[in-house]
Symmetry: C2
Subunit: 433 residues, 2 copies
Amino acid sequence: MPEAKLWIWGGTALVPGAPNGRLEDAAIGIADGKIVSIGKRSEVTPAPGARKIDTTGCLVTPGFVNGHTHTGMSLLRGLADDLPLDTWLREVIFPTEQKWGSPDFVYWGTLLACAEMIRGGITTFNDMYYFEERAAQAANEAGMRMVAGQSLTEESDIDGTGKDLTGSFDRFRESVGDFPLVTASVAPHAIYSVSRENWKALIEYSAKTQTRIHFHLCETRWEVQDCQKKYGKTPVAFFEELGLWEQPVTAAHAVCLTPEDIQILGKHRVGISHNPESNFKLATEIAPVVELRRAGARVALGTDSTASNNNLDLFGEADVAAKMQAFKYGAGALKAQDVFSMLTREGALALGLEETGVLEVGKQADIIAIDVTAPHAVPIYNPYSHIVYGAGARDVKHSVVNGQVLMENRTLLTLDEQEIVREAAHWARRISP
Amino acid sequence: MPEAKLWIWGGTALVPGAPNGRLEDAAIGIADGKIVSIGKRSEVTPAPGARKIDTTGCLVTPGFVNGHTHTGMSLLRGLADDLPLDTWLREVIFPTEQKWGSPDFVYWGTLLACAEMIRGGITTFNDMYYFEERAAQAANEAGMRMVAGQSLTEESDIDGTGKDLTGSFDRFRESVGDFPLVTASVAPHAIYSVSRENWKALIEYSAKTQTRIHFHLCETRWEVQDCQKKYGKTPVAFFEELGLWEQPVTAAHAVCLTPEDIQILGKHRVGISHNPESNFKLATEIAPVVELRRAGARVALGTDSTASNNNLDLFGEADVAAKMQAFKYGAGALKAQDVFSMLTREGALALGLEETGVLEVGKQADIIAIDVTAPHAVPIYNPYSHIVYGAGARDVKHSVVNGQVLMENRTLLTLDEQEIVREAAHWARRISP
C-alpha cells in the first residue's frame, strides 16, 4: 500500500466489521484516490507533510449516492409546485425547457446542483438530462463522481439526440471520456416517451457497448395502464421481452409494480432508485422497497430534480423513505441501518459502481464527515438512527471524493460558489414567469 | 406607537397585504416586545442607538409555532427506533421514564430542546410532560414563548399529579405564573390513560379556570376501537358528551377520525396539532388535515418528541405535511402557502395565542430570518414553496421572541449551549442501555 498523503483524522467512523459497526477515534489514510488504511488515531503516525482533515466531533461515513436526478434542471427549482405530474410536466416543465434549455443552462444548473450536493454529503450522482456532456463537464470541475445519462424524450427532443440515436450516444460517450470520475449511460426517458423501435435500438446499443441504461420505470398508475393498453402487459414484462433486464440498468421510481414485476426485477438484481419525496409530492404511490430488496434488487435513494422536489437533500429522502415503508408495511419494516446502506454501499451497487460506498481499504476514498456537536445531534444512542431520522444536509462538514477534498469546514474548495449563485440568480430573473 | 429600539433590517418580509405577500428591503421596528412599524428600509431612519439585526439575504417571517411536543424527553432522543407505538411506549419509554424521569431530567431536556428549537426557527411551543414547571423554567431562561402542559398519565404518574388532581394543577399554574411568556395548560395524556372521572374533573377545572387542555386524540386505530368498546362511541363523540369541546382545547394528532368527528372538531374551531413525521414513523394513518381545516378546525404543525421523531425540525414537518396530504387527497391539496400559515398564524391560533404568528403592527415581535443565499435556496420563484419544500432548520440565521434577540448569526444569546450539550451527553452516558 502506498503511504497516505491525506488523513481523515478523528471522530467515529462507520466501518463494517467494527464492534457495533463503529470505530471511535478513527484515522483513515488516503493515497492515489483510495483508502489505504483504517485504524485508530492513537495507533498511526502520519508521514511528515501529510494533510489532515480534522473530523473530531463527527460521524465519518462513505459519501452518499444520489440514485436519480436531473441536475440540469436546477435553475427551475420550485418553478411550479403543488400540481399533478402530468400538468406539471406538460404545462410547465416541457415548455420552459423548450424555451430555455441549452448547453449553458445545463452547465450552470449542474454546477449549482454540485455545490448543493457536496454541501449535503453527496459524493456520487446518477444523472439524466439533455446536453449531458455539459453536465458531465460541471461534475468534472466539481470533482464529483457521476454516472451521466444522455437523455432521449421523443416529444421533447431538445438536443436532437433522437435524430441520430447511436451516433449521438457514440459522440456523447466520447465527449465525457476524458473525465476520470464520469461514467456514461444512455437515458431513454420512459416507456411512454420513447418508441418500441428506439427502445430496441437502445437495448442493442447497451448490449454492444456495455453501457448502463437509466430510465423512469412505473412512476405512475397511468404509465402502467397506458402500457397495458398499448402492449398488453406491464412495463416490466414488456421490457423483459425486449431483453432490457439482461443489460446493466438503473430504473428510477419503480412505484407501481405487480408481484410478478418485483420478482423479475429481483431476479436480475436490477438497480432501482427510490425517490420517495418526489413520489410523495406528485401523489403517486408508495414503492414496494421492502419487497424489492427482499427479491434481490439493489435500491438506491434519489432526490429527483429540484423542479419536482425543490432540494437535493438525501437526508430528507432517507427520513421519508424509512417512514414511508413503515407506513406501508408496519413500523420498522425498513430500519435505519438498511436506509444507511441504501444511501451508501447499496446505492453505489445500484449504479454499477463496485469500488465505492464503503469505508474499506482498497475502495475509492469517497468520504464525508457529519458534525454531531449541535443540540439536535445530542444524545446519539445510535448513529444510523441519527443520520436517517435526525441529521440534516447542513450538518455535513467535510467531503472527500476520490481522495480530493471538495469541502473543508463547510467551504467548497473546487467550485466558485458565489459565482455559481450569482449566475443562477441571473438565469432565474430571465426565466421567471 | 413607541419608538423602535430594535430593527429587523433588510431582506424580504412575508407580510399579509403586501403585493404577492412580499415586502422587499424590509424594515421592521420593535419596541416593548411588539412590532411597532413595518415598512421599507429606504423609508425609515432608526433612532440613534437603536439596535439593528442585519437580515439582508434572508426571508423574514413570523417565528414558527411547534404545536405539540414533550421537550422533557429530549434526553431520550432516538433511544429506540423502528418499533410500533405500543411496544415503543410500554417496553422502552415508560420504563426509562420511571427510572430516569426527575425534575432535573426535565429541566436539562427542555434546555436542550430550546437550543435546538431556536436554531430551527421555532419561537413558540406547546409542551406536555411531567415536572412541567421545570420545563417552563427552562423556556423562561431561553426566552421562548410556551404553552406549558402539566401531564397526567395514570399508569405512569411519575410526579404524582394524579394523587391530588386540582391541587396539583393549582400549584403548577402558580409556579409558572412569574414566567411572562409561559401560559399554563392541563395535559391529560389520552382517553385510554386517564379515567372518565378524571376527565370530567379536568374539564370542570378547565371551565372554572379557563385553562387550556392539551392531550393526544385519536392517534391510532387501536385507541378508537378501545374507546368504542369501553364507551360505545368514538373518542370525539365521547368528549362531546363530557363538554370538552366547549373548553379551550389543543388536540394532538387527530389522525383516525370519522366524518362526524371532523364536523364536531370543525364546529367548535378546535385547535389541532398535526404531527406528520411522528404519525408516519409510528405507522399510524394520514390525518385528514384538508377536511379538518375545511370544517373550521385550526391546525398547527408539531414535531412530537425527539424520542419518537428524533429532531424538533418544523421544516421537515412542513415538507412531509404537504406531501402527505397530496398523497391522501391529490397533488396540491394542501398548498405551500397553507402550510406556511399552519407554521405561523394558524398554528398560534390553534394554541389560543391571538397576539403572535403574523408580521403585523401591534402583534408580538416573534420573528425569524431564514438565510436564502446558499446554493439550495437558489433560485426562489416562490418563497412559501422554498420554506416548505426547500429550506432546512439550519438555514435560520436570526431569531427574536417578544422583542428579545435569542439568536444572532447562528449564535444563541440566551443559553449556554456548550454547557447544555455537555450536560445532555452526561445524562446520555448514564441512560444508555
